[in-house]
Amino acid sequence: MENRLAEYWRKNISIVCALLVVWALVSYFCGIFFVKPLNAIHLGGYPLGFWFAQQGSEIIFVILIFIYYKLMSNLDRKYDVHE
């Protein structure tokens, strides 16, 4: 049982880390650090870096939380710790 819980916690951490990598990528990398080179690419009338900063990050953040909800619900059931 102890081991099962430790394993559950490790999987939980890896899900959180993977999602936080995406979180940092879209906001800090696409929206701030690489905004200038990305602005050379256009998405309709949007320079791409500008789009990530003012639209894309916000939309992807919402999707990330719903993915987290889905993944964790599955994980909880698999390790039999769901409510």
Binding site: G45, S73, H82
Partner: protein, 591 residues
């Protein structure tokens, strides 16, 4: 029907609705009062969290700020949404499983220390009071502009309304009124945005319109953002979409401010407390998703509103004779939020980069030859002749787009909903911090349910009066202290809550040293920059972003001190194990 009549109807109807909801959901026990009995469905909690979070600043000021800042305005868009990812992934499910009422509760129990509880309590009250003062002022301003009453009368009406539904319904009443307030504010924000997107770009979706072509006027056929870049260049501003140009913030500063706002958001007590109101850990995760969805609807519309407003403003005002200026220009000139000085006496409005005169306009009471209000301010050498307060961008939008009177009234009701919903959430945090954390947990452990409810209600009344006082006599430093609220939330709560969950080794000594080190550094830096007007000496990071450094200091100090002192006792380590597994999350308990 006139705008004023419509405003009375809209505001009357929405206020009636809020009070009705509060009466229908009034509570008799402390659990209902502090955490709504733990039975709020995720989607409703998501809406309530969104209304709680989006204040008068989000509703009224944000689009105006972005309109003038262009790309740099992204710090608010990313900062105030990205924090919810941290909240959902790192805090909400665990705090829900922990299952107590307040943030100081978690800090006090996890670090088995009343000293830690007290530090957390003081931070929670300070952060919430800072915020609430600004909200009551917002209420007063909306009242005075749209209902044509005195600002002070407006603040007092707002105080009475908030007290009625917060005092009566506690968290339960607040939650259900916030659901209604979210509905009002989002409709009020979207209707003018959609109408203006149609008008300028021919598409009803503002988020798409921002990346589309302008359909009418002299710029027809070009992309809106290209037109704005061009206009900004021509008038001497930095390009609208350009990042980190001269006169703008550096990349490091943009990064730090964005991160500080994200972490600060995740550490704000009135946001965290919302996740105690849902029935389970799963529901806490889901309701964070809904909350951000509902917030993102407004936050992705805001940059479009900002760009439309700037385009409209330059297109309809710049290089046009004053006598031909549209009627909304003159309406807002009357409120003193727009002013024009004809520096070259040609009767034409020139809008350029730079300030037209020093400070905010001070009017002489006389009018010039064309009927413009004259100002006493000392003029600058800039060719710019136009003063525009950023806050009017959203409020004047419906008038700029020639929308009917009821839409203008709806925007007023939306602004009030945004300010009141945030104010009520903050007041509840203040009341619960004092009546639960201080009175019940630290002073009188034997207090009965009835006594504690009474103390809670009295504390709401006291907090409403303090907030009202600041609303009527706004301290000059409201704008400055907002940096404080986020900086303190980032440098105090966030690191020790994270470590409290993700490390079993973090202990009492570490947490107390860490919090104090983080807060002291952040507070000193902000005071130096904002009050003593020193230059930002730490890598050029502005006061708004320094919370990030404070947070790192807190993390490092907590980890180092914890590792050289005794590990937390066994029962605390078991507590950490228990909050990491969802099963067994009953309703929130109070002992």
């Amino acid at each position: 029907m006139s705008i004023l009549a419509w405003t009375y109807i809209m505001v009357g109807l929405t206020f009636g609705l809020y009070i009705f909801i509060a009466w229908a959901s009034r509570v008799r026990d402390t659990k209902g009062f502090y955490v709504a009995g733990g039975g709020v469905p995720p989607i409703a909690n998501g809406m309530a969290t969104a209304a709680d979070w989006m204040s008068a600043a989000s509703f009224i000021s944000m689009a105006g700020l972005i309109s003038f800042l262009g790309y740099t305005g992204s710090i608010y868009l990313m900062g105030w949404t990205g924090g919810y990812v941290l909240l959902a992934l790192l805090l909400a499910p665990y705090l829900r499983k922990f299952g107590k009422y307040t943030v100081p509760d978690f800090v006090g129990d996890r670090y088995y220390s009343d000293a830690a509880r007290f530090v957390a309590l003081v931070c929670a009250i300070f952060v919430s009071l800072t915020y609430v003062a600004g909200q009551m002022r917002g209420v007063g301003i909306v009242f005075s502009r749209f209902l044509e009453v005195d600002v002070n009368t407006g603040v007092i009406i707002g105080m009475i309304i908030v007290f009625l539904y917060a005092g009566l319904g506690g968290m339960k009443g607040i939650t259900w009124t916030q659901v209604a307030q979210y509905t009002v504010l989002i409709i009020a924000y979207l209707i003018p945005a959609i109408a203006i997107a149609m008008k300028i770009t021919g598409t009803p979706i503002p988020q798409i319109g921002l990346g589309s072509h302008v359909v009418t006027g002299q710029h027809a056929g070009k992309y809106l953002l290209d037109v704005l870049d061009q206009l900004n260049r021509d008038l001497g501003f930095a390009e609208y979409t350009q990042a980190f140009g001269p006169g703008q913030k550096s990349m490091l500063d943009v990064f730090c401010i964005t991160l500080a706002l994200m972490v600060g958001t995740a550490g704000l007590p009135h946001v965290i407390i919302r996740f105690y109101t849902v029935p389970s850990v799963k529901a806490a995760r889901l309701s964070a998703g809904y909350a951000l969805l509902f917030i993102a609807i407004l936050y992705t519309t805001a940059p479009a509103v900002a760009a439309f407003a700037r385009y409209n403003m330059i297109d309809t005002l710049n290089d046009k004779p004053y006598t031909e200026a549209p009627s909304w220009f003159k309406n807002w000139e009357k409120t003193g939020l727009i002013a024009w000085v004809d520096k070259n006496n040609d009767g034409i409005i020139q809008y350029r980069a730079g300030k037209p005169f020093k400070g905010k306009p001070v009017f002489t009471g006389e009018t010039g030859p064309l009927g413009q209000r004259l100002v006493k301010n000392e003029l600058t050498s800039s060719p710019n002749e136009l003063y525009i307060d950023r806050d009017i961008m959203v409020l004047a939008n419906p008038e700029i787009a020639n929308l009917p009177a009821w839409v203008i009234a709806l925007v007023a009701a939306g602004g009030l909903a945004a300010a009141l919903s945030t104010a009520s959430g903050l007041l509840l945090v203040i009341a619960s911090s004092i009546s639960h954390d201080l009175y019940y947990r630290m002073i009188n452990r034997k207090a009965s349910e009835k006594q504690r409810l009474l103390v809670g209600r009295v504390m709401i009344a006291v907090a409403v009066c303090i907030a009202g006082y600041f609303g009527i006599n706004p301290p000059g430093f409201v704008a400055q202290v907002v940096a404080f609220a986020f900086g303190l939330a980032a440098s105090s709560f966030f690191p020790i809550i994270i470590l409290g969950i993700f490390s079993k080794r973090a202990n009492r000594e570490g947490a107390i040293c860490g919090m104090i080190a983080g807060i002291v550094f952040t507070a000193i830096y902000i005071i130096q920059i904002k009050f003593l007007h020193m230059k930002p000496w730490f890598l050029g990071i502005s006061a708004e972003g320094i919370g990030v450094v404070g947070m790192l200091i807190n993390f490092i100090v907590t980890i180092v001190v914890s590792s050289i002192t005794k590990a937390p006792p066994k029962e605390i380590q078991d507590l950490v194990d228990s909050i990491r597994t969802p099963r067994g999350a009953g309703a929130a308990v109070d002992h």
